[in-house]
């Protein structure tokens, strides 16, 4: 559906300043109904990728196509709903006026705009605030107003740049449910986030991006398998004898800050527990599988420093 081919983009910060490569050789294919998340540290090139996809900036090299048509010839805006990170909306407009503009700009009739706007505001608990100037909104409310603006014309592709940023737990849950709902409707969702937990729960595929490069694309099967199979226990640094006693039961032993992290299949929990007890090894902490994704992420960042 969307194909990004060998994209390169370098920013020129100004005269006599060194050029900054933002995206380097990014290739990615997004199929219809995919929910794909891009994760990476600040400056990894995630937002630049989104801006290239929206036509706000042009790649130096490479091509983008939408449904097989080059981006500049495809009226992609009719099919796309976009939420930027920290959306700056018009201070003196009300949410109703903003949505009326969104509807008109997207070619919707007034009746359709009212109906869709009403539904979205209801879903995101914004109905009460619909007549208030946007400058009186909190950060979370602005984020939700931005989501209403992006989704008003019922786009088939939804691009969300840090959709959970600045939201309180209730707001996060609301947005999470909305994205799940969109996923259920078969929408193609492309989003960037720092919150790995959300990315992991929502995405079918996760792209790890560091220094402008797309390092790895993990499929749901990869991290789901990882999650079901492994448990991780943190223990003090073990001696040779203890390690050899535990080794047959473990799938991985990692060293971290003077401690050992023991990974093993969930079904081996009883055996590992008994062995640890027998060896008199104290368990300092357990780790969820989520941390594994975090570790993968951190590992990728470290490798590319």
């Amino acid at each position: 559906m969307i194909e990004l081919k060998s994209l390169y983009k370098t920013y020129s910060p100004g005269l006599f300043k060194k050029k900054v490569p933002a995206v380097r050789g990014l290739s990615l294919e997004i199929n219809h109904g995919d929910v794909i998340g891009l994760v990476g540290p600040n400056g990894a090139g995630k937002s630049t990728t989104i801006r290239m996809l929206l036509g706000l900036i042009r790649p130096d090299r490479g091509s983008i196509s939408f449904r097989g048509v080059p981006l500049k010839d495809a009226d992609i805006q009719y099919d796309i709903g976009y939420l930027p990170e920290n959306p700056y909306l018009y201070d003196h407009l009300t949410l109703e006026e903003l949505l009326a503009f969104s509807g008109r700009a997207s070619g919707l009739s007034s009746a359709e705009t009212k109906k869709r706007g009403g539904e979205l505001m209801e879903k995101l608990a914004m109905t009460e605030a619909r007549k208030r100037p946007l400058r009186t909104f909190s950060k979370g409310m602005l984020q939700r107003a931005g989501i209403c603006f992006a989704l008003l014309h019922d786009p088939s592709v939804v691009i969300l740049d840090e959709p959970m940023s600045g939201l309180d737990p209730v707001g996060r849950k609301m947005v999470f449910d909305l994205v799940t709902d969109l996923k259920g409707q078969g929408k193609t969702i492309f989003f960037c986030s720092h919150i790995l937990n959300d990315v992991e729960r929502l995405c079918d595929r996760i792209g790890l991006m560091v220094g402008g490069r797309l390092l790895r694309v993990l499929k749901r099967e990869d991290f789901a398998a990882h999650g079901e199979a492994s448990l991780h226990l943190v223990v003090n640094r073990l001696g040779e004898q203890e390690l050899s006693g535990l080794h047959p039961l473990l799938s991985d032993i990692a060293e971290e800050s003077g401690r050992h992290v023991l990974s093993f299949p969930a079904k081996s929990l009883t055996a590992v527990s008994e062995q640890l007890h027998a060896l008199n090894v104290e368990v300092l902490a357990s780790r969820s599988d989520r941390l594994s994704l975090e570790e993968m992420f951190m590992q990728a960042v470290e490798e590319n420093r």
């Binding site: 920013y11 706000l56 900036i57 805006q77 796309i80 976009y82 700009a105």
Partner: protein, 271 residues
């Protein structure tokens, strides 16, 4: 056109609800009040002074509106990246430029119309108080001059939009626009002086400087072409030819500037 109007509507609303508008309106009211208070000091010239002060109040209010609110309406979109959200909708860059410009135009027209009503009340009041000194006063000429204050501000609005497309900072847009206004107001006199022959007798001007000023006079709008204050103050008749020329000049300048702005804007990248 529907999209252009949708964008102009939100630009208009954003402008008219800006709190600076109240400040500018209060300032204009102060000038009009001052006019009433001091009118008696001018004896026979009270009619001329009234017209001059009223048109000046409109002009200053228009300038403040376009430079402080107008610049914000256009350049802040880029500054604060609101434009990312707007351009994610099916709005072309050209539609964006025209929508923004029309919004600024509606906003200035509405604000000036309100001030013009107050200005008319001031003139009516002073005309009643000093009827004997308003002999040469003509309402049609007063309205013509007031309309051309609007035309001048409309041209400056286009300049603001144009500079917003080439800079990414609202302050730089403001500085460039004010420079264009200062040059545009004085360029006619400078060129007239250089061509008059007095210049050669008084100071030495190099040929290159002369050519540069000539070139600038074609690039920057001649805002003096929209100044009908003297005619309105003295009740002098103005031919349709001059009115048509000034109006046509303003319209052509605005259209050319917006076409150029659209071309530049369509090539621009928004990081």
């Amino acid at each position: 056109m529907k999209k252009v109007m949708a964008l102009s509507r939100i630009t208009f609303l954003e402008g008219i609800r800006n709190r600076s508008v109240f400040g500018i309106a209060l300032f204009s009211l102060f000038i009009l009040g001052l006019n009433i208070a001091v009118a008696g000091f001018f004896m026979r010239d009270v009619g001329k002074v009234t017209v001059d002060m009223n048109l000046s109040a409109l002009s200053v209010a228009g300038l403040l509106l376009v430079f402080f609110v107008g610049v914000n309406l256009m350049a802040k979109d880029i500054d604060r990246k609101t434009i990312h959200l707007v351009l994610s909708k099916p709005i072309s860059r050209m539609e964006y430029i025209w929508g923004k410009y029309l919004g600024i135009l509606f906003f200035i027209a509405t604000s000036l119309a309100v001030l013009l009503v107050l200005s008319c009340l001031t003139v009516l009041l002073l005309n009643g108080m000093y009827a004997g000194y308003f002999g040469a006063f003509s309402w049609p000429m007063f309205f013509t001059a007031a309309f051309f204050v609007f035309v001048k501000i409309a041209v400056l609005g286009a300049i603001v939009v144009f500079f917003s497309t080439i800079t990414s900072n609202s302050f730089i847009t403001l500085i460039f626009s004010i420079c264009a206004f200062i040059i545009g107001t004085t360029i006619e006199e400078v060129v007239f002086y250089l061509r008059s022959g007095f210049a050669e007798q008084e100071i030495a001007i190099s040929e290159s400087l002369r050519k540069f000023i000539e070139a600038v006079s074609y690039l920057v709008p001649n805002l003096a072409a929209f100044d009908f204050k003297t005619e309105a103050a003295h009740g002098l008749a103005v031919g349709w030819g001059r009115i048509g020329f000034s109006l046509g000049y303003g319209a052509v300048y605005v259209i050319l500037l917006l076409i150029l702005a659209s071309v530049i804007f369509s090539r621009r990248e928004f990081n």
